[in-house]
């Protein structure tokens, strides 16, 4: 991992409110693993102050600009415009200077390639699944269950298909694919493939529902989580989630940025995951 002071290759809207940004990053791909992320510095001047975390969607090489140049290695992120930082990002252009810290975090565990691989993506949660799919298709049959609120939230599905992944789309409003929650599809697949392994990324209610189904069918699950992050490298302790067995007396806090963002579901304390609790201390640091 390192801090890349580099340039944007392209930044395009791919669906209303969703952008894909390619960034020049020599040497990045060799280090990056599926499920990892980068900390993107929105601009050199303030605000916003803090970097923003984004999953690694793709890494690759582009044709060099001319014969004698090396091919341009890039990292690609796919982001949704939600607030101040991403609003600044959508206005960036080819050639604009940016900073990128990465690759960071703990990716998916892909050592066990037995059985069917089922990837479950909710909206922008699709991002880390593409690199995962590219790796898994080498050894296994891979299915992507992709859910979103409307058709606009269904992204990059054809790219997964080009990898040889079977894809199933569902939307809450039925505007694309099946109407309803992605977990309906998941249940059918789990019934069909008792040896399936599940990998999921998306909003917390979806992850929670996926977790329930996987427990029901005894399918191993890995999830990729999001938490507010300040540093991305394990220094600020801002991004913790509770590990399985966490109690007040024997607390177990795991950094999403270093122990995660991908966790085996069993390692987490699902009780309060993604919920806000309150305490009252001075709160100085």
């Amino acid at each position: 991992m390192k801090n890349y002071r580099t340039k944007i290759i392209s930044n395009q809207e791919v669906s209303p409110g969703y952008y894909r940004m390619r960034i020049l990053a020599p040497g990045f791909g060799a280090k990056a693993r599926a499920g990892q992320f980068v900390m993107f510095r929105v601009q050199r001047s303030l605000p916003p102050l803090l970097r923003r975390p984004f999953g690694i969607f793709k890494v690759g090489f582009m044709e060099p600009d001319c014969d004698d140049m090396p091919p341009k290695e890039y990292v690609e992120i796919l982001y949704k415009v939600v607030g101040r930082g991403t609003t600044i990002m959508e206005a960036l252009h080819e050639g604009d200077g940016v900073e990128l810290l990465g690759p960071l975090g703990n990716g998916f565990d892909v050592t066990d390639t037995d059985g069917e691989m089922i990837l479950v993506g909710g909206g922008i949660g699709l991002v880390p699944l593409y690199m995962l799919a590219s790796e898994l298709v080498e050894h296994s049959s891979v299915r992507l269950l992709m859910g979103g609120r409307t058709r606009d939230d269904i992204l990059a599905v054809t790219e997964f298909e080009r990898l040889g992944v079977e894809t199933y789309v569902s939307t809450d409003d039925g505007s694309l694919g099946e109407e309803g929650l992605v977990t309906k599809v998941l249940e059918r697949k789990l019934q069909k493939y008792p040896n399936a392994k599940v990998f999921a990324c998306g909003p917390m209610p979806m992850l929670r529902a996926v977790r329930e189904k996987c427990l029901d069918y005894n399918a191993p699950l890995q999830v990729s989580l999001e938490e507010f992050m300040a540093c991305g490298v394990g220094a600020c302790l801002g991004c913790v989630v509770k590990g399985a067995g966490h109690t007040e007396e024997t607390p177990s806090y795991l950094c999403t940025c270093t122990a995660g963002p991908v966790f085996k579901a069993d390692y987490l304390d699902w009780e309060k995951l993604g919920q806000t609790e309150e305490t009252e201390c001075g709160g100085c640091s």
């Binding site: 102050l49 806000t276 100085c284």
Partner: protein, 313 residues
């Protein structure tokens, strides 16, 4: 040849003496923003900075607060980590072996919730040879005194410093909270109680509300405000404390670049700490150090110590 020789002789001296330690330069991380040092090792050479300051340590491991623990504000951030840390024992076992390999003084930041806890940590820090100095964080609520923060009460501050001093022969830095009416009163109290240096400031207590959920952005409701937003308050307090005490002062609060650090040095700080800026740019401290050096060169100074406290009023 002549030119080659000139370069080294014109490089200004950046070493400073701080409470008996000699630092290669006056720039170090602020506690809690640099982990235990190792986290940032991939991004900068730890032997380029003046010192390493650890996350606050306590007697037992501390779980910290629920999330969300951080929220961004205008030119700043709020945090309510809740002083999560591995505890002094695990620190010695798991973090010291790495720190031992780095030729840079390690300053251990620490705290307690009772007087006894403070004393007990001090005793243990005294025994760890790899620790060059201790930085006492008195911004914590005194659980025995109904939660009043040690550092907001000159009496309580004095007491805890006196106790820690009695257990510690190593240099003792006391870090003050800015959430007080008159920081010079606390500064004088901790100087009298035996502090070798004073570090200010810790975070300003703040709060931010999500207007859509109508909830505080932090699970803990309030948190500590850090970053560029607080710099004018920090510079003011450092200036006040420098006037009030005779021990050296470490300036911290909102430093992002060399210009910011220079404000503190000119105000009289012997060293500075960089906090939130590490998150924004992992090599922020190197930029600060290089910028300070360059400034000295441009101003024709051959020693950083000529700059320290050179405020013209």
């Amino acid at each position: 040849m002549a030119i080659e020789q000139k370069t080294p002789t014109t490089r200004p001296n950046l070493t400073v003496d701080l409470a008996g330690m000699r630092l290669r330069n006056p720039v170090m991380p602020a506690s809690g923003t640099f982990g235990y040092g190792e986290e940032y090792a991939p991004f900068l050479d730890l032997e380029d900075i003046g010192a390493i300051v650890t996350k606050g340590l306590s007697l037992k491991p501390k779980a910290g607060n629920p999330t969300p623990r951080i929220a961004e504000t205008i030119s700043g951030m709020l945090n309510a980590i809740g002083l999560q840390n591995v505890g002094i024992e695990a620190f010695q076992k798991h973090k010291i072996p790495f720190l031992r390999t780095v030729n840079t003084p390690v300053i251990a930041n620490f705290f307690g919730n009772t007087l006894e806890e403070y004393g007990a940590v001090a005793e243990q820090l005294e025994e760890i040879p790899e620790i060059a100095a201790a930085e006492l964080n008195i911004s914590c609520p005194n659980v025995k005194q109904g939660g009043i923060v040690f550092g907001t009460d000159p009496q309580a501050a004095s007491e805890v410093v006196r106790l820690v001093r009695s257990k510690l022969t190593k240099p003792l830095i006391v870090k003050l909270t800015p959430n007080v009416t008159d920081i010079t009163v606390v500064a004088k109290a901790v100087e009298d109680a035996g502090a070798d240096a004073i570090c200010c400031i810790n975070t300003l207590t703040g709060m931010s509300i999500d207007i859509h959920t109508r909830k505080p952005r932090l699970a803990n409701k309030t948190g500590g405000l850090s970053g560029p937003a607080i710099r004018p308050v920090a510079v003011r307090m450092v200036h006040q404390v420098v006037q009030a005490v005779s021990v050296p002062v470490i300036g911290v609060g909102g430093i992002v670049c060399a210009m910011d650090a220079l404000e503190f040095l000119i105000a009289g700080a012997t060293a500075v700490q960089v906090g939130t800026a590490n998150f924004v740019d992992p090599s922020a401290m190197l930029t600060v150090i290089r910028g300070i050096e360059e400034f000295c060169v441009n101003e024709g100074l051959d020693d950083i110590n000529q700059l320290i406290g050179s405020l013209r009023v």
